[in-house]
Amino acid sequence: MISLQGVHKTRGRYRLEIGDLRLGAGERVALVGPSGCGKSTLLDLLALVLAPDAADAFTLELEGSVQDVAGLWRGRRLDRLAALRSRHLGYVLQAGGLLGFLDVRGNIRLPRQLLGLADDGGVERLAAALDVSDQLDKRPAALSLGQRQRVSCARALAHAPALLLADEPTAALDPVNAERVMQLLLRQAEAHRVTCIIATHDETLARDAGLRVLRMHCRRDADGGVIATLGQAA
């Protein structure tokens, strides 16, 4: 489903190099590694919000057709990338990334509205599954961090995406809440047969959740810059 070969991205003195990354449909993996080793950069590349500087191959297989992401970036097909993002991707951000001017219901419903999909009761079902049913009419500012993360998970899954990306979704939570959010997220991802890539610095949590772990490494080059690479499956 996901294939990256020879993908490079440089930001200042930081350089991410992905030699080879292939993930099949429905696979669930965790990106682990210390802070600043490129987990978020890799997620942003996969979320189609960050253009690679170079790529031998960068493709996503979505609904049976292969999308040449590297080619779309080269051709500056930004609207096409936005459309792919809107239809096929769900992204759980570290701090929730909820829109403050919408209530919880509006936040969860928004990805479906953008696709012109009718509300089939999925918003309420997801809210119930993620235990935020009684928060639907509240604004994000009125929620706890854990509740925001669960609403963010619901929003990321509302439009049944093919690929779910989560950037440190439990980083700001206490261990009990972290495990709860992770379990709820993965249960929903499994129920919807979504390919999952979750960035976390908590390898134990990832392993306990049954995720295949991919470890990211950092090293210094001769000029003092940082080079981040993706290691083999641990």
Binding site: D44, V49, G97, L98
Partner: protein, 402 residues
Amino acid sequence: MRPLLIAGLAWQDYRTDARLSACAVLALVAVIAPLLVLFGLKFGLIGSLTERLQRDPGVREVIPLGGGRFTADFITGLAARPDVAFAIPRTRQIAATAELLLPAQGRGVTVEMLPTAPGDPLLDGAVAPDAVDLRDVVLSFTAAEKLGAHPGDRLQASFNRQRAGEVQWRQTSLHVRAVLPLAAFERDALFAPLALLEAAEDYRDGRAVPALDWTGELPAGSAARVYPAFRLYARTLEDVEPLRQFFAERQLLVSTQAAQIAQVQSLGRNLDLVFWIIAALAVAGAVAAVAAGAVAAVERKQRELAVLRLLGFGTAALLLFVVLQALYSGLLASGLAALLYALAEHGLNRLFMQVPGEYAAHLLPMHYLVALLAVLSASTAAAALGGWRVARIDASQGIRDV
């Protein structure tokens, strides 16, 4: 792109930021409301002055000075001009007086006789005398008042002349068709068909008047008739000056109120210029304020806009989001400014205007519509100008902080 969804989202964000939105609205009201008052004053005052001039037919009258010799054909040619509303020959002033008597009341009055016909602006909408019946007349208000006459009454009219030191008289009966309102003509006057004035003139000149069974030393029609003057009214205020020029080119001296009309028109033009200079400065300031507001909005909402971009909003959709919020400000500001203007208009008109139909400040529905469209256009252009920064919003940067 789903414009309705974007409009809904933009509105919800606009409402959430109520205080900042109110500031944007008030900043626009501060520009629009004074402009509306200024334009209302200009339109109201100049409109009322022009209306006042337009209402008084005397302002549009072109009066020939000195003794002229005009043929009926020449005056008919004048009447046919598109810039002339009404033209009719006048007989000699000395032959254009009559003494009227209402036998039932026993009162008499000497009046000036004015030739008239359908379309005469001095009749102020009253029915004109029957052109075929030279005994059918219209009385001015003061003449009717002095005689105690009413429409339908019959009057005795006397015309005199001097022959070898002897005063001679001829009388005829006249039918009062209508009485003019006082405002239409304030002197003692008799509006009659031209034929009656020609008859009076012929009698004074010693010619026979068969239509009234008056005999004379000379037969009727013994000389080709020429007229010393005419009554002529321009169709509009703007037509007065060209008509004056027309007569001046023919060496015919006329008296007009062209200078007074030009004064009002010049005042209108000068106020126009002042208004547009102020409007241009104010609109430039408003455009700058809206553009700066859009730049600030993009900066302030960078995180939310980054999330929207992550969810699939393209640059055009994000720009629409920003522009729509400027349009909401424009709409609300237009409504509030119109309300404030209406209050100001009411106050100004109560304070300065006593005559019904005249205004110190006045706007037509079309003016409100034009103002609304101008505000929305300027808001859209300014917000689009400032909002172009959304193209620079990098979702991968913005989403890290939300």
